[in-house]
Symmetry: C2
């Protein structure tokens, strides 16, 4: 019975995700579902990319409680709305639709900062254009072997906190090996809170924004 | 309907957790539910404490897939059984009962290494004696403000990877403030893969093991 309900929930979610895709296309929004473990550097990555991408950026912030991240980004001039999931461990398509309407932007890159969790968010299509994972170096190089559904769900990895590689003994070869077993996702290395590498993530996103919307 | 099913699931889980408590008492097991985000250093903490605690240690390893952690601990001589949750984001009381029987130990400290997740495990009582959170310094000092259900659920925090405090600019005062808002949990600082601080965690656990079981 639990499985049946879950299947119904996911089917309903997929319907809303399909409608989100239409909405995003109408409004020339390129939408990025940014996932990652707690403390993987998702907000810092958004902040660093927003400064470098050269197109308007909006953010839908998901957290189980608090509005720390949205306040931080708004304080930096990045328009952000906060969604509290009241304990739920993921965002779904319906709340993203409401968030996008609340954001009220056109011709923009929209980051959805998902709840910090390497498991549940990989089950919910939001209607996004890009599935981006922030995986941080201190989490360890074995994560692609252990969180297979997430690592096989994503299009791009931002490997964050690369400045800590030596301090934590991160084996980049092992990480690439694990990722390669389950995914064709590219890896972009980011460090020093985005001072290195965030320009490459920004370039990747800008190209695809232009490709989708024809806007510059 | 979803909420109703969840309530029934949790009520059923609590019944099994109560039976687990009886089983653990009969077998003189002191059971620790070790939770934490992916890459927070849970396995490393178990390894370091097992070497220092001076009583037999067994481990029930929970992962959504893979047996990397159980293999590592067994390789170090720490008896471990692996539970794969096949994608589920938490352990429940029933799988812990099965894991404890498979482990087949008496007069021991048993670590349950929960799935790497700061959200869902805080809803499932396992019948444990101690709820221990591995929170790592690189995750950031704001986590107690953001993951309130987990930080209010726990009895003890092992603040891991303290050797990285300077490198990541960790504000210990902010972390303590956030924790203090929702919990009376004590913090023990651990660093250098347990070379500093794991002795204190081991001492904390040994005292309570003796207090519960009367064994030495």
């Amino acid at each position: 019975m639990e499985v049946l309900i879950m299947k119904k929930l996911l089917a309903a979610n997929d319907d809303v995700a399909a409608k989100n895709r239409e909405y995003f296309a109408q409004h020339s929004l390129y939408v990025i579902n940014l996932m990652g473990a707690p403390g993987s550097g998702k907000t810092t990555l958004i902040s660093a990319v927003a400064k470098r991408v050269g197109v308007p950026v909006g953010v839908i912030e998901g957290d189980i409680s608090s509005s720390i991240d949205a306040e931080r980004l708004n304080g930096e001039g990045v328009k952000s709305v906060q969604i509290n999931t009241c304990g739920e461990c993921h965002l779904d398509a319906q709340v993203i639709r409401e968030g996008a309407q609340q954001l009220g932007m056109d011709n923009a890159v929209v980051f959805v900062e998902n709840v910090g969790n390497l498991i549940c968010p990989a089950e919910f299509d939001l209607g996004e254009d890009l599935r981006l994972l922030a995986a941080s170096v201190p989490e360890g190089d074995d994560k692609p072997f252990k969180y297979v559904p997430m690592f096989s769900y994503i299009d791009l990895v931002a490997l964050t906190k690369c400045d800590l590689k030596k301090a934590v003994g991160f084996d980049g070869g092992n990480f690439r090996k694990g990722l390669g077993l389950v995914s064709k996702a590219e890896i972009i290395e980011v460090g020093d809170k985005g001072a290195s590498g965030a320009d490459k993530v920004a370039e990747f996103i800008k190209e695809r924004f232009i490709g989708k919307t024809g806007k510059r």
